[in-house]
Symmetry: C2
Subunit: 282 residues, 2 copies
């Protein structure tokens, strides 16, 4: 693939990390950034994530590939306007929900210049300073509804993710949102709720600060994640997340019932069953 | 502190890691192991965690310091018999619950040779092969009910944990179990239940395998933890864990209610509140 002029809309954790990797891997000839947040715009320049910051329209017109790395509600807001402007460019989003987005542009005359992508990478931090070299490497990326995208656009998107050493999977937007609820969104809700559980009691005692263990840190790490990013994800994937959340509460109630009834054999069975997660994560 | 002859009862993740660090830091002159599991006993020798494996009584009589690193129900079973044997030795347990243990030996004539310790370190793996160099470093260790232990026993325990670069905190057994429910035990229940939630649905689709993200891995990592270790912890700390679990389910219901009622402002507030966990974990 020839190196491209790339526009990154949203130079935060995801967009900034994507910029760094595109530069490192020779995907980008020149990278321009777009960001409404003036402080983030300055940081992106000083951290050398992008070559310059431009207004949205100018950035789109000057680029071969436009990457959307902003909250999923903002993607739905601005994608139609971007598609109005493009001719041969490729527009790729990196958002965590796909169904509503797909519906929102289904009748756009330039729909086929768009490729929907969800890279399964992120951290609990946000903003340009959270951008990391080595991001995305060996992670999965889900491409959605590829039958709606032009062949050349799909080819460019595929090449980019391959050069970033990502494993590409394909599914439709509907299935994507269902699975994302299980493998990503519920983890965040669980972690947010766990943090709130502990913070509720921490008012009474500071011992928790001193005792916080690695296991605790691991389960509440995601609770540091950005509300501006996650509220729109939960909003757009409401129905799937409610299904999973109900299941999760039911599973927690099984543990509760074992404790209340002192049913230690069944409690041990529940743990042994949970151990099978080893099949999924090493 | 002069280096000691140390007996490690239970040469698994915790006992094995403790042995490695005691050797590395010069705390141990000679280390003997005790383990009912014959395969673990062999592994401990072949991995060079201990110098030899002995029967319990012989190991106790030949050692200056006896470390208990077995499940908390087994600690309650064998500690009285060990205290029957000791004269000037120090017995230290590394278990995750303290109140029932403290009660079980409160009238033992050699109670003051025992020091209750809970190092806030562990991984989701178990057995001798899970033992790690560098374990415990810079982690907290909670010492309980020190007024019930002899001064010289406390001094030796403190010295050992200091040499292991651990931060020592003191509290009574009752408070320990209350706080441990928040900073450790609930994380495990949450993680077990999350794993069961996903595994329940994974029967329907293998996409989860392919999509599993780092965030998912972080929250379900603890679900790989050993049932033999965790069932007795949950049993012994039942009342505290039930309190925290009820609070956690209530916090999850708040998220559920926001989704059902489409109350996105309150959902965002819940996330912002959870973000305050940054005060506790960096």
């Amino acid at each position: 693939m020839e190196s491209k002029n790339i526009a990154i809309i949203g130079v935060g954790l995801i967009g900034g990390s994507f910029a760094l990797q595109c530069r490192k891997k020779g995907i980008a000839n020149r990278i321009v950034g777009v960001d409404n947040n003036k402080m983030h715009a300055k940081e992106a320049i000083s951290l050398n994530l992008v070559d310059e910051m431009l207004e949205l329209n100018e950035a789109v017109l000057k680029s071969d590939v436009i990457i959307l790395a902003i909250p999923v509600d903002a993607i739905i807001s601005i994608l139609p306007g971007i598609l109005d402007l493009v001719k041969n460019q490729v527009v790729i989003d990196l958002g965590s929900t796909k169904k509503l987005l797909a519906e929102s542009i289904s009748n756009h005359k330039n729909r086929n210049r768009f490729v929907a992508a969800h890279p399964m990478w992120g951290t609990e931090y946000s903003g340009p300073s959270a951008a990391m070299e080595g991001a995305f490497e060996n992670k999965a990326v889900i491409l959605c509804d590829l039958d709606k995208s032009a062949d050349d656009a799909v080819k460019i998107a595929r090449s980019m993710f391959e050069i970033l050493n990502m494993q590409i999977f394909e599914m439709n937007s509907f299935d994507h949102d269902l699975h994302a609820a299980y493998v990503s969104h519920i983890s965040h809700i669980s972690s947010f709720a766990l943090a709130n559980t502990v913070l509720e009691k921490e008012k009474e005692d500071r011992a928790i600060f001193e005792m916080a263990s690695a296991g605790f840190e691991s389960t509440v790490r995601l609770a540091k994640s950005n509300p501006e990013m996650w509220t729109p994800i939960f909003k757009q994937n409401k129905d799937n997340i409610l299904d999973v959340l109900n299941e999760h509460i039911m599973q927690l109630r099984k543990f509760k019932s074992c404790l209340e009834k002192e049913n230690w054999d069944y409690l041990k069975e529940l743990i042994e069953n949970a151990n099978q997660i080893r099949r999924i994560i090493q």
